[in-house]
Symmetry: D2
Subunit: 139 residues, 4 copies
């Protein structure tokens, strides 16, 4: 079985805070996307190469629960996991922890679809499927 | 009954696009927040004044469906609606349309809680409740 | 002579603030870019159309002086002015004011070059030159 | 002599690109700020602690030259250097390189002043001066 789970560490940037002193809630979507990029890299693939070959993932759904705030200079750990993969959709779960006390700050779930350069929905490419499931056989 | 629904128009900024040529999905949370600010203003209140008096709204949940992409320079219409208000929570629905063809691009739902300067959850202030429900009586 | 100066009003978004309670200094570049888009529109042109035809402006230099902070919900007025135009470069000055007291908050100066889809520097297209200088004659 | 120069590596995030496929020029100010945070940490100080003690740096001037674009997933190296330090101002130079070919992409220079919680300009605190110059003696 391929890699289905990836952990990355990141440090909160000053520009990500808002005047409450918290990371602005819109920034977690950016973190989650970093998790997907690194999960793909851990599988031996590259999202950059995938886009260059003409296949693009678009987020069609994103649900987030904000449990506790992250703050400037906090060290965070993001766990990204593929939870479902079909030819039409790929789903991920995200858990973001503060490293100092391992507290869960944010949970997310996303659904992505694949489109071509014209924005038309296409099947997720075989090459990508194989990265996530080495036994994948398109025939 | 108070104002429960607010429409604002906005134009997509270049900096909001990503290399797919779409508005990056993290930006819709920013648009929705603009909708809440203007809905509050339409009720005769000011979120800035509310924060200055020591009460802050924090987003505890945000769910978004991305139906079609917005692009640079698109004119958009955002409809923000209060769907539920209790002493502990305020819930909003969002619908974002492209003005040229009235196509629904994005739908969202958020749940907000109220906290004090120390980040402790508090009841939503009477003053705020009255803006949304003139018959509100705290006693 | 063509339009060389354009004023736009904008309201500071919550997401543009940082934990000091000020607009983060990186956001002024976004405001200045909005000014350029609207200045071009005031000249009867469209930057979106220009990009679709294969010509892109890239910022090669941006200098900014931050005189006083902008804050959440502030109403601002941005004055964008073309100060120099050659076949190779277009230069703009920016002045950003707080509307409530007309205080100058930020001043900027940018230099843009024109590139094609491959990122190669090209001469600024005739059509664009004519928008800024109706007497422009490419011959 | 204290640490006056700091290198950090960073990877371009998808959300930092714009529809040209380049890192949006407003993002370099965010990178430069990360460089300052890490330079201070390398000196044994913490900007977070400095703010908690009531002293804040504000950017009063930022000049940037954009020489070549950074792209999604590029690995970059940022060199941040303190070039001048007085009681009133601290100046930094920035050089941002693409790691794959060591090409210089962006150069910047910033001037920061120090303010208190009320936003009034103050002298840079002794503690901070000592981090940058161990022979600093405030008397």
């Amino acid at each position: 079985m391929a890699v289905e789970r990836c952990e990355i560490d990141l440090r909160v940037r000053y520009a990500e805070t808002d005047q409450m002193g918290y990371v602005h809630h819109s920034k977690y979507a950016v973190y989650f996307e970093m998790g997907r990029t690194e999960l793909l890299r851990a599988c031996g693939a590259s999202y950059r190469a995938m886009e260059e070959s003409g296949s693009f993932f678009v987020v069609v759904r994103l649900d987030t629960r904000f449990l506790a705030p992250a703050r400037y200079d906090d060290e965070l750990r993001l766990v990204t996991q593929t939870t479902r993969l079909t030819r039409a959709r790929i789903e991920h779960d995200y858990k973001l922890y503060r490293k100092s006390d391992n507290r869960l700050l944010t949970e997310g779930h996303s659904v992505l679809a694949c489109v071509n350069r014209q924005g038309q929905v296409i099947a997720i490419p075989d090459l990508f499927m194989q990265h996530f499931d080495p036994e994948w056989d398109s025939k």
